[in-house]
C-alpha cells in the first residue's frame, strides 16, 4: 500500500514538474532571450570557469583522499618478496601520479583557456609528426622499463628453483572454509582425490600412499618465519582464490588441478602486531568497534569482541552465497614455536584409523553395516569410485 502511495506521489510530482516547465516556457514567449539550445558565449564562459573549478575539485579531492584514506592501504609486507612488490608498486604509482597530474591539468585548463567566443577563431592545426613521435616514443620507453622490471620481479616470485629448500604445505578450499595439510617429515604430500573423501578424511587423502603417512591436516594455518613455504593449492568443488594480502600472495584454487605459490614469511604474527602502523590501525578499528558496541548494547544485543591483528587467508574468487565469510587465520611463528605447535598434531592416517575404530565400536551392537551404507549415499559413491579406480 505504501509503495503504491509512493508511486502515485512520484507520478503526481512528475506531472507537476512537467506543468511548471510548460508554464515557464510560456512565460518566455515574446522574451527575446536566445533559446536555440546551442551554447552561447555566455554558456562557454560559465562552463569554461566550471571546467577550471572541476580541475580544482579533482586535485583537492585527490590530495584529500591521500591524506584521509592513505593509511588504509596495506602497510609493511610480511614476506620476502613483499618489498620488491611494493617497490614496483611505488614506481608505477610515481609514473601514474606524474602523468595524471600533467594531463588532467592540460585537459581542463585548455577547456577553460580556449572557451569559445563569437570573435575568436580556432587555429587550423591538423597534425605534427614530430609531436606524434614524441608521445609515442616516451610511453614506449617508460613502458619498456616497467615491463622489464615487472617481468624480472614476476619471474622471481613465481618460479621456485627445484633445489631450493622449501616446506610443502597444501591449501585446500571448499565452500566455505579452508584446510591446510602439512607434508610432514618427508616433505612430500600424499596423493589425494575428492573421490576418497570420507568421514574425517575431509581432504580425500589416499591413506595407503606411503607419502601420506606423515601428513597432518589443520584448520588454522601456522607457518615458521624465515622458511620458504611452497603452497600447493587444491579445490574440492568450485573456483576459489587463496588471498593472503599481507604477504602479497594470491593464487586460484582450481578443481581438478593443483596450483602453486611460494613465499618466505619474514615477520611473526607478534612482530607484525608491534609494527607502529598496525598498532595504530588496531587502535583505530577498536575505537570504531567500541562505538558500535555501545550502540549494540543499547539495543540489547551482544557486544563486539575487541580486535587484535592476525594474518588472514581470504577467499577472493566468487564462490557462492557465503563467499564473504570464507577465511582462515594464519599464524607466523618462530621456527621453535612452530615445531612445538606441530608436534602434537595427529596425522591424517591416524585420525582415519581412530575414527574407524570408534565407529566400529559404536556400530557393532546396534545396526547392521549394510543398512548404514544404504543410508549414506556419500559412502556408496566413494566406495564405487574406489573400485573403479582400482580397475
Amino acid at each position: 500500500m505504501t509503495s503504491l502511495l509512493v508511486i502515485i506521489v512520484l507520478v503526481l510530482l512528475s506531472i507537476a514538474i512537467w506543468q511548471m516547465t510548460k508554464i515557464f516556457d510560456l512565460t518566455q514567449v515574446g522574451n527575446k532571450k536566445e533559446d536555440s539550445q546551442i551554447a552561447t558565449d555566455n554558456d562557454n564562459n560559465v562552463q569554461g570557469y566550471l571546467m577550471f573549478g572541476f580541475l580544482a575539485f579533482l586535485y583537492i579531492f585527490m590530495i584529500y583522499g591521500m591524506f584521509k584514506w592513505g593509511h588504509l592501504v596495506l602497510g609493511t609486507p610480511a614476506s620476502e618478496h613483499g618489498p620488491d612488490y611494493d617497490n614496483l608498486m611505488y614506481i608505477s604509482f610515481a609514473i601514474i601520479f606524474f602523468v595524471q597530474a600533467i594531463t588532467q591539468v592540460l585537459l581542463h585548463y585548455f577547456a577553460f583557456k580556449y572557451r569559445g567566443a563569437k570573435d575568436k577563431k580556432a587555429l587550423y592545426y591538423a597534425d605534427n609528426d614530430k609531436l606524434e613521435f614524441i608521445w609515442t616514443i616516451i610511453p614506449v620507453i617508460v613502458l619498456a622499463g616497467l615491463i622489464l622490471y615487472g617481468l624480472y620481479t614476476w619471474t622471481n616470485i613465481m618460479f621456485v628453483d627445484e633445489d631450493e629448500d622449501v616446506m610443502v604445505v597444501e591449501l585446500y578450499a571448499k565452500q566455505f572454509s579452508w584446510e591446510a595439510r602439512y607434508s610432514g617429515k618427508d616433505n612430500v604430500l600424499g596423493k589425494a582425490n575428492v573421490r576418497l573423501i570420507e568421514g574425517v578424511n575431509t581432504m580425500g587423502v589416499d591413506v595407503n600412499d606411503p607419502n601420506a603417512q606423515d601428513d597432518i591436516s589443520v584448520t588454522e594455518l601456522h607457518i615458521p618465519k624465515g622458511k620458504k613455504i611452497l603452497f600447493k593449492l587444491r579445490s574440492q568443488d568450485i573456483l576459489h582464490s587463496a588471498y593472503m594480502p599481507h604477504f602479497r600472495a594470491q593464487m586460484n584454487c582450481v578443481p581438478g588441478m593443483v596450483t602453486e605459490f611460494a613465499f618466505r614469511p619474514t615477520m611473526t604474527t607478534d612482530e607484525m602486531r608491534q609494527q607502529p602502523e598496525i598498532v595504530e590501525k588496531v587502535s583505530n578499528i577498536n575505537k570504531i568497534r567500541a562505538k558500535k558496541t555501545a550502540q549494540l548494547v543499547a539495543e540489547g544485543k551482544t557486544a563486539l569482541d575487541p580486535y587484535t591483528f592476525d594474518y588472514l587467508l581470504l577467499c577472493n574468487k566468487i564462490c557462492g552465497a557465503s563467499h564473504y565469510n570464507m577465511q582462515m587465520k594464519i599464524v607466523v611463528d618462530t621456527p621453535q614455536d612452530f615445531q612445538a605447535w606441530l608436534k602434537d598434531k595427529k596425522t591424517i592416517v591416524n585420525a582415519v584409523k581412530e575414527d574407524l575404530a570408534s565407529k566400529k565400536a559404536e556400530e557393532k551392537p546396534v545396526v547392521a553395516p549394510v543398512q548404514a551404507k544404504v543410508l549414506d549415499s556419500t559412502v556408496v559413491a566413494t566406495a564405487e569410485d574406489k573400485l573403479e579406480e582400482k580397475k
Binding site: Q37, W69, L88, F110, Y125, I147, G150, N284
Partner: protein, 601 residues
C-alpha cells in the same frame, strides 16, 4: 515483414505521401529503416540501463549499511529475495551479476554501438540505408528478445544467475553451488546466445555497409573517426563474439548433457560428481578471448563519438587523424592478444603471464596517443562548450584516470595483490564504464537533433554533466584505496572481517555519491523524453558540423537524402580552415581552386 504490416488496422494512421507506404507496424515496430532501428536500440538500451543502475544502487546500499532492512528492498525485491527488507546474500551476488551483464552487454554494447552505428554509419558515409535493412531489423529484434529473456530470468523461482558476469564454472554450472545456477543461469545463457546472434548480424551489416556503400568521393581516409571506430568495433565483435558463443554452448552441454569441458573432480553437497578431465581454466581462456576485446567493443565507439564531437566543438581539425586511425587499429589488434591478463593468478603457466604482461602494457601506447591527441585538439581551439562537448572532455578525463591504473593491473606482479579487489572495480568502471557512458551521453546530446528533429535543453544538460562528473569520481576514486587495503570485491558484507572495519566509512561515502549521481540521471531522462515531444525544433545543422548526416533534411525520410546522394570532396575535419569565410567546410563543398589539403590524410 512488410506483409504483416500492410493489412493491419493502423495502416491508415500514417499514410504519408512517401514512395514507401508506412503503417504503424512497419514504421515504428518492424522497421527496416536504420534511423528508426537506432532509436529502438537507444530506447531499449536506456530502459535496460535503468534496470542495471537501480541494481547497483541496491547492492551499494547493502555494502554501505550491511544487513539493514530497507523498505525499498522489500518493495523491489519482494519478501522472498529480501525477507523483512534485508537482502539475502545470494541475491546480492545475483544483483552484482545481472548489473554487470546488463551494463556491459545490453547498455554499453547494444545500447551504445547499436544506436550510433545504426544512426551514423549510413548517414555519415552517404548511404541510403544499411546494406541489409532486413538483417538490421532481425538484429534489433533478437536484441530485444534477449533483453526480455534476461529480464525474465530475474523472476524465476531459484533466483537469477549469480556467478558473476564472468560466469566462471563450476559455480555457474552447478545449482548445488549457488541457487542462481539453476534456471536463472539457463536463461542467462539463452539470453546471451540470442544476444550474440544479434550482435553478429549487426556487426556484419556495419562492416559490409562501410566497405561497400560509401558515397562518391568518400575514401577510407575521408571517413569520420566515428565510422572508423564503429567499423573496427564491428570487426572485433565478429572475431571475438563467436568464441563466447562456443563457450556458452559448451557450458550448456556441461550443465545439461553431462559433458566435462570445464569440470573435473568435484565433491559438492556430500557427493562426488561424475565430471572428469575438464578445466575451468579453459573456460576462462574462452571467456576472456571475448571478454577483453569486449572492453574495446564498449570503448571504441565512445572514443569515436568523442573524436567527432571534440573536433566539431573545438572548431578545429582532430589532431593527428592518421595517428587516430592507426591507434584504433593497434588497439583492435592488441585487444585480441591480451586476454590472459585477467588470468595471471588463475593457475596458468607463469610464463604465459609474462607474455600477457608484455602485450597488455603495449596497449597503453596507442591509448596514450589518443589521449594526447584529444588534448592537443583542444589547444588553441574555439571551444563551444555544449553538453555533448562537456561529456566528451569528461570522457578524456576518466579515460586517463582509469587507464593509468591499468598499468598496475596489467603488470602480472602487481596484479597478484590487487586482483579481484575494489582496485579492479575502480579501474574498469572509470576506464570503460564511466568513459563509455559519457560517450553515450555525449552522442545522445549531440545527435539528438538528428534523431528527433528537436534540441535537448542545454541547461538541464549542464546540470546533468556536472553532478555526474563529481559523483563519478566520488564513487570510484575512494575505491582505489579500499582495494589497496585488500578488500575483495563481491563480498556481501565486510563485517565478518574486523580487519576491514575502518573501511566502512569509505563505503558509506561511495554509496552516497552513487545515490546522488543516479538521482541526477533522472534529469537526463526527463530532458530526453520531454525533448522528444516538446523540445525546441532543431535547425538542419545546429552544431555547424562538416559531416554528411547534417546535409540530410531534418525530417526523416527513407533513403536519407531526397535527391541524389551527396558527393564528398574533402575530409570531415576542415574546421577553421584558412581561406574560408565560415569556420566549417562541409565535406560536400568542392575544393576551391588552388586549395591545398593541409593535412596528411
Amino acid at each position: 515483414m512488410g506483409a504483416a504490416g500492410h493489412d493491419h488496422d493502423h495502416a491508415h494512421d500514417h499514410d504519408h505521401a512517401h514512395h514507401h507506404k508506412d503503417t504503424f507496424i512497419t514504421k515504428y515496430i518492424f522497421s527496416i529503416d536504420h534511423k528508426m532501428i537506432a532509436k529502438q536500440y537507444l530506447i531499449t538500451g536506456i530502459i535496460m540501463g535503468i534496470v542495471g543502475v537501480v541494481m547497483s544502487l541496491l547492492f551499494r546500499m547493502q555494502i554501505a549499511w550491511p544487513e539493514e532492512s530497507f523498505g525499498i528492498f522489500k518493495f523491489l525485491l519482494g519478501e522472498k529475495m529480501a525477507p523483512g527488507g534485508v537482502m539475502r546474500n545470494d541475491i546480492y551476488l545475483a544483483l552484482v551479476t545481472i548489473h554487470g551483464t546488463i551494463m556491459v552487454f545490453f547498455v554499453l554494447t547494444a545500447g551504445l554501438s547499436g544506436t550510433f552505428s545504426n544512426l551514423l554509419i549510413p548517414l555519415q558515409i552517404g548511404a541510403r540505408d544499411m546494406a541489409s535493412g532486413f538483417l538490421n531489423m532481425i538484429s534489433y529484434w533478437l536484441f530485444f528478445t534477449s533483453s526480455v529473456v534476461m529480464i525474465c530470468s530475474l523472476f524465476v523461482e531459484s533466483g537469477p544467475a549469480s556467478a558473476g558476469w564472468t560466469i566462471y564454472p563450476p559455480l555457474s554450472a552447478l545449482p548445488q553451488a549457488i541457487p542462481g545456477s539453476g534456471t536463472g543461469m539457463t536463461l542467462w545463457l539463452v539470453s546471451m546466445a540470442i544476444f550474440i546472434a544479434s550482435s553478429l548480424m549487426g556487426s556484419l551489416n556495419y562492416v559490409v555497409t562501410v566497405i561497400n556503400l560509401r558515397t562518391k568521393g568518400m575514401s577510407m581516409t575521408r571517413l569520420p573517426l566515428t565510422v572508423w571506430a564503429f567499423f573496427i568495433t564491428a570487426v572485433i565483435g565478429i572475431v571475438s563474439f563467436p568464441v563466447l558463443l562456443s563457450a556458452a554452448l559448451m557450458l550448456i552441454m556441461d550443465r545439461s548433457f553431462g559433458t566435462s569441458f570445464f569440470l573435473s573432480d568435484i565433491f559438492i553437497s556430500g557427493e562426488v560428481l561424475h565430471y572428469q578431465g575438464g578445466s575451468p581454466v579453459l573456460f576462462e581462456h574462452l571467456f576472456w578471448f571475448l571478454g577483453h576485446p569486449e572492453v574495446y567493443i564498449v570503448l571504441l565507439p565512445a572514443l569515436g563519438i568523442t573524436s567527432e564531437i571534440i573536433a566539431t566543438n573545438s572548431r578545429k581539425p582532430i589532431f593527428g587523424y592518421r595517428a587516430m586511425i592507426a591507434s584504433i587499429l593497434a588497439i583492435a589488434f592488441l585487444s585480441t592478444i591480451v586476454w590472459g591478463h585477467h588470468m595471471f593468478i588463475s593457475g596458468m603457466n607463469p610464463f604465459l603471464g609474462s607474455v600477457f604482461t608484455f602485450t597488455t602494457l603495449l596497449i597503453a601506447i596507442p591509448s596514450a596517443v589518443k589521449a594526447f591527441n584529444y588534448i592537443t585538439t583542444l589547444w588553441k581551439g574555439n571551444l563551444q562548450l555544449n553538453p555533448a562537448m562537456l561529456f566528451s572532455i569528461g570522457l578524456v578525463s576518466t579515460f586517463i584516470s582509469g587507464g593509468l591504473t591499468g598499468i598496475i593491473l596489467g603488470d602480472s606482479t602487481l596484479d597478484i595483490n590487487v586482483h579481484d579487489t575494489y582496485f579492479v572495480v575502480a579501474h574498469f568502471h572509470l576506464v570503460m564504464g564511466i568513459s563509455a557512458l559519457y560517450g553515450f551521453f555525449a552522442g545522445v546530446y549531440h545527435w539528438f537533433p538528428r534523431m528527433f528533429g528537436r534540441m535537448m535543453n542545454k541547461n538541464l544538460g549542464y546540470i546533468h554533466f556536472w553532478v555526474t562528473a563529481v559523483c563519478a569520481y566520488g564513487v570510484f576514486y575512494p575505491m582505489h584505496f579500499i582495494g589497496m587495503a585488500g578488500l575483495p570485491r563481491r563480498y556481501y558484507t565486510n563485517s565478518n572481517f574486523p580487519l576491514f572495519d575502518d573501511l566502512a566509512d569509505v563505503n558509506v561515502l561511495i554509496t552516497t555519491f552513487a545515490l546522488v549521481g543516479a538521482a541526477f540521471q533522472l534529469v537526463f531522462m526527463w530532458n530526453f523524453f520531454y525533448s522528444i515531444f516538446y523540445g525546441k525544433k532543431s535547425v538542419q545543422n545546429p552544431w555547424k558540423s562538416n559531416t554528411l548526416e547534417w546535409t540530410a533534411p531534418v525530417e526523416h525520410i527513407h533513403g536519407n537524402w531526397p535527391g541524389e546522394l551527396p558527393t564528398v570532396h574533402r575530409w570531415p575535419y576542415d574546421y577553421s580552415k584558412p581561406g574560408h569565410d565560415d569556420d566549417f567546410v562541409p565535406q560536400t563543398t568542392p575544393m576551391k581552386e588552388g586549395e591545398e589539403e593541409l593535412h596528411h590524410a
